[in-house]
């Protein structure tokens, strides 16, 4: 089985790294493409031994499982470009936040009658094989297609199937989750430094504390509230500290964060569904490339542009 990544950024790199480290896939069976060869992840991919190309079409040709690893506003571009090359053997896996299965199927069905589409939401710790991934299968994807993806993603962390309508919530929780953790770790380290620890040690200890706590929770039958209680000796240091966290509304901040990320994901989906792209959403290099290939496409700086008003197919 060969795997392809459209897009060679953080996500592609993280997954490729994870798959090869897990040994489920040899590097030479992986192809990644991007028009932007300056990305630091491109050299990273090359170093692992992944086949890198600037041609998305080449990636499609050389893949059975095709990951769309580009930012959500780019997805319509990509589907338009590689649509003609999608064959029944392909499983198209979109990792783009907020992009629905139906929008992808709709786009691809102009080229291929029964496109196999799976939508997945993963997160960056796949890079160290501790990712959290969920997926939902599209109309024409079989149980086996889902299981195949599950096997791949399970090699880099936890993976389970969900109903598509839960994916935005997953984005809010575990998609964005590592960022919340990095923020917390940075602050914990600051606390350690304030109280006299050298920075490196503080970071190391903070990270290990969170890692250990997470592992305990995953391996325990107990409720996190109970595990918390087990650490809080009466009148001790920990309960004093927790009081501060509660006073600051720690819990509600985290709830707010998950909610905000989920809502924002839905907003982005709404934008994407309108099939209009704000030029600001597209990196300049990509935009220039688009302009080169479709000179008739007008881009107004202040207003949104509809990608499909001037349909100009490349080759």
């Amino acid at each position: 089985m060969s795997v392809g990544f459209i897009g060679a950024g953080q996500l592609a790199f993280a997954l490729a790294r994870g798959f090869t480290a897990a040994g489920v896939l040899a590097a030479h069976k992986i192809t990644a493409s991007s028009p932007d060869t300056d990305l630091p992840t491109v050299s990273g991919l090359r170093k692992i031994g992944v086949n890198f190309t600037v041609s998305n079409k080449e990636t499609v040709k050389n893949s059975d499982v095709l990951f769309l690893a580009v930012k959500p506003p780019i997805i319509p571009f990509i589907l338009e470009e590689v649509g003609p090359d999608i064959e029944p053997r392909h499983t198209v896996v979109s990792c783009a936040a907020g992009v629905t299965i139906s929008s992808i199927e709709k786009k691809l069905s102009t080229f291929c009658p029964t496109p196999k589409v799976i939508r997945c939401m993963t997160n960056t710790p796949v890079i160290v094989r501790e990712g959290a991934t969920v997926y939902a299968t599209g109309t024409h994807a079989d149980v086996e297609d889902g299981k195949l993806l599950e096997q791949l993603m399970a090699s880099v962390g936890f993976c389970t199937e969900v109903e598509e309508d839960l994916i935005d919530a997953v984005t809010g929780l575990s998609g964005s989750g590592p960022a919340y953790a990095f923020t917390a770790l940075d602050a914990l380290a600051d606390g350690g430094v304030k109280m006299g620890l050298p920075r490196r040690l503080a970071v190391r200890l903070g990270a290990q504390a969170l890692l250990g706590a997470a592992k305990m929770l995953l391996e325990s039958e107990q409720h996190p509230g109970q595990l918390k209680d087990n650490v809080c000796s009466p009148g001790g240091a920990t309960i004093h500290a927790l009081h501060f966290l509660e006073s600051g509304g720690f819990r509600s901040l985290l709830i707010n964060a998950v909610e905000a990320s989920c809502i924002r994901t839905r907003e982005l989906q709404h934008v994407a569904d309108q099939e209009e792209i704000s030029p600001a959403a597209i990196k300049k290099t990509l935009l220039d490339k688009v302009k080169l290939e479709s000179p008739s496409l007008s881009v107004a700086s202040a207003s949104k542009v509809s990608l499909f008003t001037n349909k100009s197919k490349k080759n």
Binding site: Q222, H223, P224, G225, Q226, D229, H243, E246, S247, G248, G249, R251, S252, I255, N256, E259
Partner: protein
């Protein structure tokens, strides 16, 4: 050296129980005792300066007096239930009548065992108890601590007597102020919460009386489940929260309001106040 005190007198039904002071807290305890049928009313004698409180005791079938000394003379188990500033004077008054067979149990907030033992004859059996108001309906929470002359038998007797009023546990004396903050005053926090729940319902269109009854029953039911299942409250909370449902939305509001921290602040404030008052 113990007085020649017959063992049989340790049986609750044979016990002569006295109350010095007949206010609300004492009234709560005696009602609990009587409801549980542990001690006959005729075996209970209470003293108070005026008749104001004593009428209620007489209605229960207890005997009453205005003389504190009489209570001590005629009782084995003596509850001290005066206001804190009254107690020193009362102790000076009754001290001559206190003997080695007496079991003195103080309900007086903020007065330590050390103080009690200092103001009573040496070798007096002293215990200190902190009840809470729902003792009146046999759903109280009480903690007690023993003084240096109290043995396991006396502690067990007190615990068995008072378990009729609710939860009764022996604790180190340092927990008593915490119990005040948690449960003594805690009852008021619950009343506040119940009132607020009902007000929320009234705002949403429910009549007040109905809302109040439902609020109270909700608290009762939740507490009962906690006590009977022994599960962690966080787990029980999670069990009620269906994904994306009403409960989690409401809980988010509570978290935004930092309810947890506020409650912790309250318990802390009451506990600290109890400590401060004890020092006075």
């Amino acid at each position: 050296l113990r007085g020649a005190w017959p063992r049989v007198a340790m049986e609750a039904s044979e016990l002569w129980v006295g109350f010095v002071g007949a206010g609300r807290m004492a009234g709560g305890l005696v009602r609990g005792l009587l409801k549980a049928g542990k001690v006959p009313a005729s075996n209970i004698l209470a003293s108070a300066p005026s008749d104001k409180n004593l009428d209620a005791w007489q209605e229960l079938g207890c005997r009453t007096t205005h003389c504190n000394l009489e209570v001590v003379h005629r009782s084995t188990l003596v509850f001290l239930a005066t206001k804190p500033h009254i107690l020193p004077g009362v102790l000076e008054e009754i001290r001559p009548a206190v003997g080695p067979y007496h079991i003195v149990v103080s309900l007086v907030a903020g007065v330590t065992i050390q103080t009690l033992q200092r103001l009573l004859p040496p070798r007096t059996k002293v215990l200190r108890i902190m009840p809470n108001l729902p003792c009146v309906v046999q759903a109280g929470a009480m903690v007690f601590s023993r003084g240096s002359n109290v043995g396991d038998e006396e502690a067990a007797l007190l615990k068995s007597l008072l378990s009729s009023c609710g939860l009764c546990e022996e604790v180190p004396e340092s927990y008593i102020d915490i119990h005040t903050g948690l449960s003594g005053s805690g009852v008021a926090y619950v009343y506040l919460f119940a009132e607020a729940l009902a007000e929320g319902a009234v705002k949403m269109g429910m009549p007040g009386a109905l809302a109040s009854r439902i609020a109270a029953q909700t608290l009762l039911g939740a507490a009962k489940m906690l006590l009977e299942t022994g599960e962690h409250p966080a787990k029980l909370r999670g069990d009620v929260c269906t994904p994306g449902g009403t409960t989690i939305y409401a809980l988010h509001q509570l978290e935004k309001g930092a309810l947890r921290a506020t409650v912790m602040d309250a318990v802390e404030a009451a506990t600290n106040r109890a400590c401060d008052m004890a020092k006075d």
